[in-house]
Symmetry: C2
Subunit: 209 residues, 2 copies
């Protein structure tokens, strides 16, 4: 029995797990289960069988254990692949990678909140202060990575994957956002990073409607 | 030099770290730095010195490394205290605790989004579909814990701490929400759990204005 990954082709958090699985050589043991989760359209089957929060991804292991969120799944896969490959075991590096991962993950959460605010929410109920605040978090995070480019050096780690996923999501959902101009070092890094097979095979797409 | 924890007395995520520190016997090595973070009122000093996302908590270690988010800090403290005390090292239990932690954490994120939606956001821009959706996630999560009460057995772990923090936050911000009626087993567990000194010493409060 294969592992099962509850999957949406547009979710940056699912993409993070898929990239990790490919980088770890585990992707051929994972079956993708297309799963629709949209705020306001509760998917009760998914909430009952997998994740009560109705968020993707969730992973069912070969022994039937259900795991989430994306970070827990990545840690599980890294451990399955021997440990220390995407999340270092050396303590100081471990905390650094987990913290830069938390930063990129938080930027990604802001990007998804922006998507909900500017696409799902009725126009009359949108709030510009909230929109500006989420963009400010993304911009501050980009600035941090621009000033700490040493965290983008090889080898690949979970923080870099989360940042790559965030940047791919910005290009996917906010193509007018000219983030490359303000973060040229990050842009140069991403230009190479996004050529990895794991990123090319998982480019974001709208799910079939 | 002590560790420094960027702190707000109303944040459930800060409270999770404080409870973990007390349970691990590390609280007397942590200095609390009061920090105001409100969406729409960017705290540029905090963004520059600690967390570009302007979220609390962040922790500065004795060696000056800055760590976030709350989960990374809890893992760091658990490791400092010898490891495996709040996050088990045995694999199957580890993934179970991290997943029930992710559930309680996600419920807490919904509770904070509700606070922003129903208190910070101007009334005309509030959206009932969003409010109902966040409550549905919290209710689904409570139902899951009610049906999986075995995860609430001793010894204390990070998932239990996150659930206790969520329930305390509901009582603090939404005292009219009668969650105990729908989740009597969780309510019975919490009635005992919230008597622990670590919870009593960290009860949520509005920061001084």
């Amino acid at each position: 029995m294969a592992m099962k990954l509850y999957f949406s082709s547009s979710s940056p958090f699912v993409r993070k797990v898929r990239i990790a699985a490919i980088e770890l050589g585990l992707d051929d043991r994972i079956e993708l289960i297309p799963t629709a989760v949209v705020p306001g359209k509760p998917n009760a089957d998914y909430a009952r069988e997998a994740n009560p929060l109705r968020r993707v991804p969730a992973l069912t292991t070969e022994s039937g254990q259900v795991l989430y969120d994306s970070t827990v799944i990545c840690e599980y896969l890294d451990d399955r692949a021997g440990g220390g490959r995407l999340i270092p075991q050396d303590r100081e590096r471990r905390w650094q990678v987990l913290t830069s991962h938390a930063l990129a993950q938080g930027m990604c959460e802001s990007a998804v909140l922006l998507r909900y605010e500017t696409w799902l929410r009725p126009e009359a109920q949108r709030w510009s202060v909230w929109i500006d605040d989420q963009w400010d978090k993304i911009d501050s995070g980009l600035k941090w990575f621009e000033e700490h480019e040493q965290v983008l050096r090889e080898p690949i780690d979970l923080g870099q994957i989360a940042l790559g996923v965030l940047l791919g999501y910005l290009d996917f959902r906010s193509p007018d956002k000219d983030w490359r101009q303000d973060a040229p070092k990050v842009a140069a890094w991403y230009g190479t990073f996004c050529e990895r097979p794991s990123l090319r095979e998982t480019e974001p797409a709208n799910p079939p409607s």
